[in-house]
């Protein structure tokens, strides 16, 4: 079942014959790796500590992780909502696999947002956690999408799993704008947007580190999506093959018994 070695490239672009990598994903992976190294240099070495009025000092470096993680999770959940809507419209498993893959990566990024935010909060506010509107709505977003992933594991039938999780994928997205605007709508301990305004509160290399961090997070999201989507697609194909095989075996058993094939088995399989 392996591809010919000539198809798998050479040197740094050589691909594992069974894996989810393609030439495009390998090139993007290299770009991500180089970008991460440059980002670490800018964020940890080249950029100066914050010495403004509300000086964060060295702690400002946590922001270069925290904000890009938050942007990446918003993007991931937006893709989940759009793919869920597309599934309900088109009813093709590719959209379901896309929604599920993006939700899983989004959960990873929201976990990072909460963790880095908690560390930052401990050092600047003196507390690991506060039931503040931004923090609470972010925690709710984390729990909602964990629920989405749990639902996908709980429902065995692929079609009803896809339908139910598509509905939840759209409903859960309602919370995302609430998370984002919570600092404007309610009195919050959390600071307001750092760079969305025309007069950002940071500049120079610090602003570059933050913006470049966002670019790296988005590149990483795309690279992870390429692999996770292909994995989800392969799992769905195997599941469909397994169901087809089980149905074929059941039909053969029914014929061997000399009886008629039950109506429940007269379907065209999982696809």
């Amino acid at each position: 079942m392996t591809s010919p070695s000539s198809d798998t490239g050479a040197g740094i672009l050589r691909l594992h014959p069974d894996g989810t990598a393609s030439r495009g994903s390998r090139i993007l992976g290299i770009v991500v790796l180089v970008s991460v190294v440059v980002f670490l240099y800018v964020a940890l070495v080249a950029s100066a500590p914050d010495k403004s009025l509300d000086a964060q000092g060295q702690l400002v470096r946590i922001m270069y992780l925290h904000v890009p993680s938050a942007i990446a999770c918003y993007t991931a959940f937006f893709v989940t909502a759009v793919a869920s809507g597309m599934y309900l419209w088109k009813r093709t498993m590719g959209w379901d696999a896309l929604a599920a893959s993006s939700a899983e990566i989004g959960v990873l990024f929201v976990a990072l947002t909460l963790l880095t935010g908690s560390i930052w909060g401990h050092t600047t506010w003196g507390t690991w956690w506060e039931w503040d509107p931004r923090l609470t709505s972010t925690a709710l977003m984390f729990v909602l999408y964990l629920g989405y992933l749990a639902l996908r594991r709980a429902v065995l039938d692929p079609t009803s799993r896809a339908k139910q999780s598509a509905i939840l994928g759209i409903i859960a997205f309602v919370n995302v704008p609430i998370v984002h605007y919570s600092v404007d709508w309610w009195r919050s301990l959390h600071q307001t947007a750092t760079v969305a305004s025309l007069d950002p509160q940071i500049d120079g290399l610090r602003l570059f580190a933050l913006m470049f961090g966002m670019v790296v997070a988005m590149l990483l999201y795309v690279w992870l999506m390429m692999h996770r989507f292909r994995l989800a697609f392969a799992e769905a194909a195997l599941e469909a093959k397994g169901l087809d095989l089980a149905l074929a075996e059941r039909r053969a058993e029914a014929r061997a018994d000399g009886g008629t094939v039950p109506p429940s088995v007269k379907t065209e399989g999982a696809s």
């Binding site: 392996t2 894996g19 989810t20 692999h227 292909r230 392969a234």
Partner: protein
């Protein structure tokens, strides 16, 4: 002396944040790649549309 200690303490939190981020993202990436190879092995090459 106090400033030096505060600076060292700040770097501890910064290092912890970067270590957690790199650890989680690296761990997840490795898991996806590894599982992809495992699942891909069970799939005939014609079903692996990305490798064509």
């Amino acid at each position: 002396m106090g400033v030096v200690l505060a600076e060292a303490s700040a770097w501890t939190y910064v290092t912890a944040s970067y270590a957690i981020t790199i650890g989680l993202l690296g761990g997840y990436s490795a898991w996806v790649i590894q599982k992809g190879r495992k699942v891909g092995k069970q799939l005939p090459p014609e079903d692996r549309k990305w490798s064509s």
